[in-house]
């Protein structure tokens, strides 16, 4: 009985649904990682420097 149960768990992992799920996550990671690789405009570092500067003066 137990083996049958284990088999069906294995089969569920191999199912098209599971496979599609994996591919979706793979593509999601790629979408996110592509965005992570984009160059950061200077304005953010400048903004942080300004904020720090302003505080030191006050």
């Amino acid at each position: 009985m137990l083996t049958t149960k284990l088999m069906s768990v294995e089969m569920a992992k191999e199912s098209p649904k599971h496979h599609l799920h994996e591919q979706i996550d793979e593509n999601l990671k790629r979408v996110y990682e592509d965005a992570l690789k984009a160059e950061i405009p200077d304005r953010f570092r400048q903004l942080l420097a300004q904020l720090k500067d302003k505080e030191r003066k006050s």
Partner: protein, 200 residues
């Protein structure tokens, strides 16, 4: 993160006690913040404005940051709250005519039996921001549903069901119904065949 953190940001504080100002760490999360902002807005200009607002809010609310906790999660929380409150205020449906993925660079064809990435991104762009949000946080950034629940103020069960619905919607938009693949072919062939029909 490709851009190395700017170490000079800390050089001005030489006379102070060597306690770490958590605000000096905001700079380490510029790339993730921008990537998350792009995921929500699908528009570069809007994403940059959103990151800018997030930085200012984080800076002035740093006392609310609990040191030792996950700063990226904290920043993401501010960012997404800002995004949704702006959206409620303006009710602007930004159509994104020059959608960042509409006409895209070099497209790698799906000869390897994988989902075509271009199709995937176009489908992703069509999702609601709520769906894109959970997919990026859970599927791509590796946050647990519990963490996402804490970040978004949405119940754990809702995060789970929303993630499932978002995946399902994504598959539908690509013309793939979950579990629909014909069993007599291999899974990859099934997906390619269906993706091919959609593209034609």
């Amino acid at each position: 993160m490709t851009t190395p953190p700017d170490k000079r940001a800390q050089s001005g504080a030489c006379l102070q006690a060597p306690t770490i100002d958590p605000r000096d760490e905001i700079i380490l999360f510029l790339s993730p913040m921008r990537a998350f902002a792009v995921s929500l807005t699908r528009n570069m200009t809007a994403a940059d404005d959103l990151v800018q607002d997030t930085i200012v809010k984080a800076w002035s609310n740093i006392d609310k940051f609990q040191s030792g906790t996950n700063m990226q999660a904290w920043l993401f929380t501010i960012l997404r709250n800002t995004f949704y409150s702006d959206r409620r205020k303006h009710r602007r449906e930004v159509p994104d005519p020059d959608g960042i993925h509409a006409a895209k660079l070099s497209e790698k064809p799906a000869h390897d039996g994988r989902l075509a990435f271009g199709d995937f991104r176009r489908a992703f762009d069509q999702l609601s921001p709520e769906h894109r949000e959970v997919l990026i946080l859970v599927g791509a950034s590796g946050y647990s549903t519990e963490q996402v629940s804490a970040m978004t103020g949405v119940a754990v069960g809702t995060v789970k069901s929303r993630t499932n619905r978002a995946r399902k919607r994504l598959a539908e938009l690509m013309g793939l119904a979950e579990g629909e693949t014909v069993l007599s072919t291999t899974i990859n062939e099934g997906i390619v065949a269906r993706a091919g029909t959609q593209a034609a």
